[in-house]
């Protein structure tokens, strides 16, 4: 069976929730961490995962209360407010009972001189109650008419309760105190005071029920223990017949059950209990004068007590429904979601900043070299193994010739480390010009730069070393020029490790070629 959410539970739940929202350090991440920890430390992960949102909330509340109690050395406001409300209800019940009892005693103070006027009984005990009930039923419409969000009674009660709990919550920790007060103030009046509305409604019904019970008890007591006489009198032109019809109508709710004679006075009895002052009461018969009391008692039960009992039950139902609705608020769903969702982090430690003092690769390209006509030299072209095919070699030869390099020999490089080492041995101390072809569209790696460095170091001084930086090849154009960005990057990297190298391609040339 589902466990009911009590008033104090909802107050504490809402209070902690509001406190979370108000406290500065409560970022969503912090709250997630905390609520997830509550879940993980519960030892009931499996159970909670399969349980409902409300069960999760109940568990959360239980743990939060414990945490709050430890942190602030006093419990949340819920139990205290609940107790206050309970005490208030009890007080109202006692008050109602005493008032009913007292009012009954005053009314039934019969001295034997004049019978008790049944109209007075109606005017004091039945009619006002009936009007009040009517007012209660019309209240929602009236509130809508006045566009009021909170009834004055509720507002006053909320203020009183807030003040009382504030005193209780005052701790040495002023921050909690301030936020606590704010949270409390908002939770008592927000949502049209829905938290307090039904408990207050129920308390007033209990008060009225106690009043009616007190009054009924006195009536029965007096009827049983003293000789009472009831009569009626009026200056208006209402005959016994009219009154009898009215009485029969009023007795409809119970007359079908108990029968006419026991439910209300008959026409003769009504006629026999009419008080006419100039005639006195001596001619009235006792049976007629006592015939009214069952009717009055039934009136009290059916028009005073029963509607209040119905209203109390309706209030309890509405209270329950509103609490369920209250718990459907988004902020409460957030809690159970925070509990059930793992806290995931994939962030790395902050990266240390690299030294950015190196020259930018976006520096303007240097003017193309080889502006002056150079004598044609024989050259050895070292071509990456991936480009070492007939078409590229032919294109390369064609490209280098106008620049003074006649490629006489070609060798593939970067196939394997051993082959490159062996090639380096072969070119040691050579005086032939060497042209190294590099694929500039690939990222420059240490291995290729070191190879170039070694080639430069092994050549004789008079032998020149040229570098051909190529762009990404495609099937139609194997000998493509590099993008300016790649060209500049490679050029910078190469000049950082070896000097005196001629760059035989330029991005400008690439642009021309492409055009």
């Amino acid at each position: 069976m589902k466990k009911m959410w009590k008033f104090e539970d909802i107050v504490d739940l809402d209070y902690f929730c509001r406190l979370d929202q108000l406290t500065e350090q409560s970022s969503e991440t912090d709250l997630h961490q905390r609520d997830r920890r509550i879940f993980l430390e519960s030892g009931k992960q499996d159970e909670l995962h399969t349980s409902s949102h409300l069960q999760c909330l109940r568990f959360w509340l239980q743990r939060r209360r414990r945490i709050f109690d430890n942190d602030s050395r006093h419990p949340g406001p819920g139990p205290y407010l609940g107790n206050l409300l309970w005490a208030g209800t009890l007080f109202l019940m006692l008050l109602g009972g005493v008032l009913g009892f007292g009012a009954g005693l005053s009314y039934f103070a019969y001295t034997g001189q004049t019978p008790l006027n049944v109209f007075i009984f109606f005017a004091i005990f039945i009619l006002p109650q009936f009007l009040l009930i009517l007012l209660i039923l019309l209240r929602p419409a009236l509130l809508r008419l006045t566009d009021s969000t909170l009834s004055p009674l509720l507002r006053t009660l909320a203020a009183l309760l807030k003040k009382a709990v504030e005193k209780r919550l005052r701790t040495s920790d002023s921050t909690v105190d301030i936020y606590g007060r704010k949270a409390l103030a908002s939770l008592l009046v927000e949502n049209k005071g829905s938290l307090l509305k039904w408990p207050l409604f129920k308390a007033t019904q209990i008060c009225a029920i106690a009043f009616n019970i007190g009054l009924a008890a006195v009536t029965l007591f007096k009827v049983a223990t003293s000789d009472l006489a009831f009569g009626w009198q009026t200056t208006l032109d209402i005959g016994a017949q009219g009154l009898s019809s009215l009485v029969q109508i009023l007795a409809l709710p119970w007359s079908w059950l108990f029968g006419g004679s026991r439910s209300y006075p008959t026409l003769e009895q009504i006629e026999g209990s009419r008080i006419i002052l100039k005639e006195g009461i001596f001619h009235l018969t006792t049976t007629d004068l006592t015939s009214w009391w069952p009717f009055l008692l039934f009136c009290l039960l059916f028009y005073g007590l029963l509607p209040r009992v119905i209203l109390l039950l309706a209030g309890a139902f509405m209270n329950r429904r509103d609490r369920q609705r209250y718990l459907q608020q988004r902020k409460f769903y957030k809690i159970s979601r925070r509990m059930l969702t793992p806290v995931v982090s994939t962030q790395a430690e902050p990266e240390r900043h690299l030294d950015d003092s190196r020259p930018s690769s976006a520096e303007p390209p240097a003017a193309p070299e080889g502006g002056e006509q150079l004598p044609t030299r024989k050259a050895l072209a070292l071509i990456p193994v991936d480009l070492f095919d007939g078409i590229t070699v032919a294109s390369l030869k064609e490209y280098l010739l106008p620049q003074g390099y006649m490629v006489s020999e070609t060798k593939a490089v970067f196939r394997s480390y051993e082959e490159d080492r062996s090639l380096l041995e072969q070119i040691t101390d050579t005086d032939t010009a060497v042209v190294v072809v590099l694929e500039a569209w690939m990222a420059p790696i240490r291995e290729q730069l070191a190879f170039l460095e070694e080639v430069a170091g092994r050549l004789r001084q008079e032998a020149s070393l040229g570098v051909c930086l190529l762009g990404r090849p495609d099937p139609d154009r194997p000998f493509a020029s590099p993008r300016p960005r790649d060209y500049l990057l490679w050029r910078r990297k190469i000049t950082e490790c070896c000097a005196g190298i001629s760059f035989l391609t330029t991005p400008a040339a690439a642009a021309k070629e492409e055009s």
Partner: protein
């Protein structure tokens, strides 16, 4: 959705009695997009991603921490600098009984020339699995084959990721052929385009390379999925907040009786619209933060409807509902309102003003946004001042426009991979169509009902809001690929 979690222990793969956290080292040639892949996979846009190769010189670890426990970790590494030399050395060791990886590192870890290569091997020495990243838009080279062979010689569990730059898969087949020879499995993962679904699929694929890590990866995938659902929940809440604030916004202004009302109305209208724009921007900021886009504010496509102002004619033309849909969402019969809805759908309608109300309010649709200021409600003329009021907005189309824009923004923010740094290149946007136009009648009614409750400032909106949220979350899941598209998105 409640998901049952396994109580995860680092039981598998322990060595020498120590608990071992599954680690995946991202390896590859320089400038192949290793950092981009990692940035997208871990949704961390603080990762240094640069066009300049060799930016990563030290290994950087990205722990996947779930509930304060590190479950797996990814490690970014420097690119290979001496692949052919490394291969040569390692092949020598492999011919003997020595472990090539250990021996190479032991011998060369002090060698300045091989500093980067030794650094990239360090996670492998700890037992990390390999995620080899290559760019499928470029042809395969000998150095690549050398790198793959080195990784094969390490004997570690390994998987290849083809990150095709510029969305070109020109050489993908060439790469895949080689991957089959050297790796346990391979996947295409575009670091510039991968969204939530692709990230999850990559993690799922990692399970296949080492059985011992399956449990940890299962745990991570489940947590990632729950985390995503949580984010979608929160996004739906941001959208609810935005709609609530926008639909309940009203402003008042007091004007001295002898003053002309025209300028006051214009000013009130300006304040009102700028407040709506502020609310929308706040919602977008919150969404951006939630999806961990911290570094940049990406540029919207040039033709994006989101570039238009909330009240621009184009916005009202392309977003929101069609005429017949509006009638369904409005939940109202009556010729007057129907006529009004027709007008509202047809023009740049705002219908902002409570004074117009009902059919008159709908007829106000014929006024363009420039003239609407003249329709500001005059609440009362007192002896001291005239009180003007604008809002709350009662136009039935307005909340659908706001919702459409929020969904569109979500679509952008979740499509933008964290590994992207080309902020100047806008995302393609398929069309400026209204996502809400795909709504079936039942969803339209539910959403319309929620909007009406908000407009009425009703207290009992929780139930309607829950229903609305569920519909929005469903739509967010479809947009982000967390849920399959099945005809109409809202059901």
């Amino acid at each position: 959705m409640l998901r049952r979690y396994i109580v995860f222990n680092h039981a598998g793969g322990s060595s020498k009695g120590r608990v071992m956290i599954p680690e995946f080292a991202i390896l590859g040639h320089p400038n192949e997009g290793k950092s981009s892949v990692l940035s997208t996979l871990t949704e961390d846009d603080s990762v240094r991603v640069s066009e300049e190769p060799g930016e990563t010189v030290k290994c950087r670890t990205f722990p996947v921490i779930i509930d304060n426990r590190e479950i797996i970790r990814f490690t970014d590494t420097p690119g290979f600098q001496n692949p052919t030399r490394m291969l040569s050395e390692m092949q020598k060791y492999s011919q003997t009984s020595e472990d090539p990886l250990q021996s190479f590192y032991r011998r060369y870890h002090d060698d300045e020339d091989l500093r980067h290569d030794c650094e990239l091997l360090r996670p492998l020495l700890r037992g990390a699995g390999i995620l080899y990243v290559a760019d499928g838009s470029r042809p395969l080279r000998h150095v690549d084959l050398a790198e793959m062979e080195i990784l094969r010689l390490t004997g570690k569990p390994r998987m290849a990721i083809l990150n095709c730059k510029g969305d070109q898969e020109k050489y993908a087949q060439q790469w895949k052929t080689q991957f089959r020879r050297h790796f346990n499995s391979s996947r295409i993962f575009n670091a510039h385009q991968a969204g939530y679904r692709q990230r999850i699929m990559l993690l799922e694929a990692l399970k296949s390379i080492e059985q011992d890590w399956q449990e940890a990866l299962d745990y991570v995938v489940t947590a990632f999925e729950d985390d995503w659902q949580n984010r979608n929940h929160r996004t739906a809440e941001f959208i609810c907040d935005l709609l609530t604030d926008c639909l309940r916004l009203k402003m008042e202004k007091k004007v001295a009786p002898e003053t002309s009302l025209g300028p006051a109305k214009e000013e009130l209208f300006r304040r009102y619209t700028s407040e709506l724009v502020r609310l929308e921007n706040r919602c977008h900021r919150r969404m951006r933060k939630l999806f961990k886009h911290n570094v940049f504010d990406y540029r919207l496509p040039s033709h994006s409807i989101l570039r238009q102002d909330l009240f621009a004619d184009e916005t009202w033309q392309f977003l929101g509902l069609g005429r017949s849909q509006l009638a369904v969402a409005g939940g109202a019969g009556g010729a007057a309102l129907a006529a009004g809805l027709d007008l509202a759908a047809g023009g740049a309608s705002l219908g902002l003003f409570t004074s117009l109300g009902g059919a008159l309010g709908a007829l106000g649709a014929v006024y363009g946004s420039r003239n609407i200021a003249s329709k500001i409600k005059v609440l009362g003329i007192g002896t001291a001042a005239v009180k003007l009021q604008i809002g709350p907005n009662t136009n039935p189309q307005f909340p659908f426009i706001v919702l459409d824009r929020a969904l569109l923004y979500y679509s952008h923010i979740t499509t933008w991979a964290h590994g992207r740094r080309d902020y100047d290149v806008p995302l393609p946007e398929s069309s400026a169509t209204a996502l809400t136009r795909t709504l079936p009648r039942s969803s339209l009614k539910a959403i319309g009902h929620y909007f009406r409750l908000l407009q009425k400032n009703g207290f009992d909106v929780e139930e309607a809001e829950e229903r609305f949220k569920k519909l929005v979350i469903r739509q967010l899941n479809v947009i982000s690929g967390a849920e399959e598209h099945e005809g109409n998105n809202f059901h």
